[in-house]
Amino acid sequence: MEKIYVKNKNKCKLVKAKPETIQFLLNYSKSLKITEADGIKFETNMN
């Protein structure tokens, strides 16, 4: 009888952004520089 039961793994995981996404954001933040000239702000992304 027990054979007809399937062991269902609990597939429910808490949603969380992947470490790669976080790493990407941190790298993006490090590479982003804001420079100001004559009151205008410029974004530079140094990869």
């Binding site: 808490l14 949603v15 969380k16 952004a17 996404t21 976080i22 941190l26 982003l32 804001i34």
Partner: protein, 193 residues
């Protein structure tokens, strides 16, 4: 007991150039923000994308010095995510994306109207067979049929072109079809697609 630095202090540190403060902020609100996005989107991939876009906006605003500590950090990022979710649904309404499931395939309902290669070959064969059969018809019937089917003329135009009345043209068309069927039956020709 773990001492938690307030968001406002972390933001200040980050604006002053401490990149680690951002990491703490992201990790602190990761679960909350991701769950919020996922509760509206129900797709892990898109949740990641919106999470990423939210923090890109956060980073840009903070680095540009536009953030003012009027409200709290979490409600602010939630608002950004909320707006991005709305943008996502707006985009999707213009260009809806449908993904089938294991039990239902969208292509079982929607199909390409163009014939596939096999059907196109069969159709070409039938068309060429039909041309041979039409040649067997009497000239007056053949002319009417050709004008009607291949040149797409109306019966009025056919009557003007052939100099016969519309009724005669109609009659010739009728006999052309009857005779064609007769020829097909007599020779046991199968013309089906």
């Amino acid at each position: 007991m773990e001492l938690q630095i307030a968001d406002s202090l972390l933001i200040k540190k980050y604006v002053d150039g401490d990149e680690r403060a951002l990491e703490t902020l992201i990790n602190r609100h990761n679960k909350r923000l991701s769950s919020f996005i996922y509760s509206k989107i129900n797709d892990r991939g898109i949740t990641e994308d919106i999470f990423q876009d939210t923090f890109i906006k956060v980073i840009r605003t903070l680095k540009r010095g536009r953030y003012n500590e009027e409200g709290k950090f979490l409600p602010w990022i939630m608002r950004i995510a909320h707006n991005l979710i709305i943008d996502h649904f707006r985009r999707n309404r213009r260009m809806p994306l449908f993904e089938g499931t294991n039990t239902f395939d969208i292509f079982s309902v929607i199909c390409d109207e163009k014939l596939n290669i096999e059907k196109q070959l069969i159709k070409n064969q039938i068309d060429s067979d039909l041309v041979v059969l039409i040649e067997e018809l009497p000239v007056d019937q053949k002319d009417v049929l050709m004008m009607r089917i291949y040149k797409d003329l109306s019966f009025r135009e056919i009557s003007e072109n052939t100099g016969v009345s519309i009724n005669t043209a109609l009659g010739r068309m009728r006999y052309a079809l009857i005779n064609l069927r007769k020829i097909i039956e007599e020779h046991n020709i199968v013309l089906t697609n």
